[in-house]
């Protein structure tokens, strides 16, 4: 892939300082901070679906929010369509948000309970001046059709809808401004399996029809494998492996990816195992060890892992992992 990526993330850091008590201040204790992102490098290509997986606390949602500029990185740079996304003017931000949209995990808190679906969609259209107000009703009808909601949904309030329908409203709101990129942060994790499948099918269909670039952030490996062209695995604020979906799932390189894939329960009861795939738990994000972040749980750890942080290195074209172990 020689073409310029649509979004290029370079060395992005994001810290969230922990609130200090008066005693901490008096004793001049060090200011602790959660390292949510600790140097993320990632390319997102035009028209692809990039899956971002990892366990809770790995920074995948923080990354999603940085991508759509709901959060600004502390360090590093995100380039969108070749230009840095650091224009902080009102107009600059609005132009950016028109092209990059997000949907959220919790369909119950992502919609204003006092706004009808029509008001929600009309607001998005008005803020971004998508068309004259006289064109709103037909566009709203079109959007409802796009996400397969009945036309009479427009004048109802969010409480009248099920979780799956609310996620469709969230998708319709994001698509109202005809974005290039849709960041789907745990789009279906709050939904029942049978409803998940409906929303996943909708997303696949919309992507084909609208040529969307999708960043699919999720913890469900089966879903990510199903929907993504490429997958990035995150651990403690870093991308530890990235590659084409099939290459990554059939030949994972990083020991963490290997463990994560083995831990996901297989749908075939004949392939049941009796030994746990990993030992131990995630270290505290307040005190990430120096060197490789996975060293505390890795079965292959050696001296170099404890002192030197491994960088993403390509194993085969497009498939890179951050591990010192020789391939």
């Amino acid at each position: 892939m020689t073409a310029e990526p649509l979004i290029a993330v370079r060395g992005v850091h994001k810290r969230f300082p922990v609130r200090r008590s008066a005693l901490d201040w008096l004793l001049r204790r060090e200011v602790l901070a959660v390292q949510a992102l600790a140097g993320v490098d990632l390319d997102i290509n035009r028209g692809e679906t990039l899956g971002v997986v990892g366990e809770s606390g790995c920074g995948k949602s923080t990354l999603a929010r940085c991508l759509v500029r709901l959060l600004e990185p502390d360090e590093g740079l995100i380039r969108f369509d070749g230009k840095p996304t650091d224009d902080r003017s009102r107009e600059g931000r609005r132009r950016f948000h028109r092209r990059v949209q997000i949907t959220f995990q919790d369909p119950y808190s992502a919609l204003n309970p006092r706004m009808t679906v029509r008001q929600v969609l009309a607001e998005a259209l008005a803020v971004h001046r998508m068309r004259p107000a006289s064109g709103f009703p037909s566009r709203i009808a079109e959007l409802l059709d796009l996400v397969r909601l009945p036309q009479d949904a427009a004048d109802r309030l969010p409480h009248a809808f099920s979780g799956g329908q609310r996620q469709r409203i969230g998708i319709a709101r994001a698509l109202a401004v005809e974005p290039d990129v849709l960041v789907a942060d745990e789009l279906v994790s709050a939904l029942d399996v049978s409803v998940q499948a409906q929303v996943i099918n909708l997303l696949l269909d919309l992507q084909g029809r609208l040529g969307l670039t999708v960043v699919f952030v999720a913890h469900d490996l089966r879903l990510v494998r199903h929907i993504s062209h490429r997958v990035a695995v995150m651990y403690l604020g870093r991308v530890v492996e990235v590659g084409p979906t099939e290459a990554l799932f059939s030949g994972p390189v990083h020991p963490y990816t290997v463990a994560l894939l083995a831990a996901a329960p297989d749908l075939n009861p004949r392939r049941r195992t009796t030994r746990a795939a990993t030992l131990g738990e995630l270290p505290s994000p307040l005190a990430i060890p120096p060197g490789c972040p996975y060293q505390t749980r890795c079965p292959f750890v050696f001296d170099r892992c404890r002192t030197e942080r491994p960088v993403l290195t390509e194993h085969t074209p497009g498939h890179a992992a951050a591990c010192h172990r020789p391939a």
Partner: protein, 322 residues
């Protein structure tokens, strides 16, 4: 009779919108040493079934039916006898350990409380046993962590604490209500393997409630699929995954992506589950079912045993399988 037999278990709740049939005539058997999975989507009645078995449903909820445990009728037990069974021979673990544990008591106090209620150990014996139990469930540095409070543990470690409390009475049946749903996949894997190991070493039965078919495949011997308060299919785990007979079970299995068919449409189940206060007449799945006929809408289909250990509540199951 050994093990657990549940017959015609029905749980009703009065709601402002009418009577909700949360559990509607459920029959289940759990043999000694067996892991029975109870799988379904939210609102299918799987958790209420579990709570009804131990009579944890409070008025105005009403539970009827028979629950026999080792030949004794749990529905007829007095309060004192019921207390001995609860947390004694039958223990329960929950989805959210933080709300099931007492936040102001140390882990030691909570394990020893169960030991005091259900064993004859003296003070020194209880102290020793509490450390053993915490060690048994895979807590690193168990002795030192006994005097910590629940908030000092991670989610996975809290779930281990809850399992240690449940094991204190050496139960013969463990009721597990989505014990790994709130956990990350690597920690879920550790907890599931721990439960299977405990089942083997203690000869315990487990009634395992989950919505995750992967968890079912990884842990259960037999599976009951629930929909709108009723069991619609019951089978050995291999049969269920190889040859599901109920259209809902097939839809559920088709909704989960499998390797090898990336970026294709999933066979989703259209529509949403019915409201429990307004169940459709006849088969509750009929409005979402591609096989439904007039007969499905007139009478609730009974469970039909058509092969050894495989029963299904669908009048069209032969056609569905073909």
């Amino acid at each position: 009779m050994t093990g657990l037999q549940v017959r015609n278990l029905t749980t009703l709740f009065d709601t402002p919108r009418g009577q909700a049939h949360a559990v509607d005539g459920v029959d289940l058997d759990v043999a000694p040493g067996e892991v029975l999975g109870l799988v379904g989507e939210s609102g299918s009645g799987k958790s209420v079934t579990l709570r009804s078995i131990l009579r944890l449903i409070r008025p105005p909820g009403r539970v009827t039916g028979q629950v026999a445990w080792q030949g004794r009728d749990l529905m007829a037990l007095g309060p004192a006898a019921l207390r001995q069974v609860r947390g004694g021979e039958i223990a329960m673990i929950f989805q959210e350990p933080m709300s099931a544990l007492n936040p102001v008591l140390t882990v030691r106090a909570q394990i020893e409380e169960s030991l005091r209620a259900h064993t004859t150990l003296d003070r020194a014996g209880r102290r020793r046993r509490a450390a053993e139990l915490l060690d048994r469930v895979g807590m690193p540095d168990a002795t030192r962590r006994l005097d910590d409070y629940p908030h000092q543990f991670s989610g996975g470690m809290r779930q281990r604490v809850m399992i240690a409390i449940a094991l204190a009475s050496e139960p013969k049946l463990l009721l597990a209500d989505e014990p790994t749903t709130a956990l990350d996949v690597t920690i879920q894997d550790q907890i599931l393997k721990l439960l299977l190991d405990l089942r083997d070493s203690m000869g315990m039965s487990v009634l395992f409630v989950t919505h995750d078919l992967g968890v079912v495949a990884a842990t259960c011997d037999r599976v009951a699929v629930m929909y709108a308060g009723r069991v619609v299919e019951m089978a050995d785990v291999l049969d269920l995954f190889d040859a599901p007979r109920h259209p809902y079970t097939r839809g559920l299995l088709g909704s989960v992506p499998r390797g090898g068919a990336e970026r294709t449409l999933l066979t989703s189940v259209e529509g949403t589950p019915p409201s429990l206060t307004a169940l459709p007449p006849g088969c509750a799945f009929a409005p979402r079912c591609g096989w439904a006929t007039e007969d499905c809408r007139s009478a609730v289909p009974p469970m039909e045993v058509f092969a050894r250990g495989h029963a299904v509540a669908c009048i069209h199951h032969q056609r569905v399988a073909a």
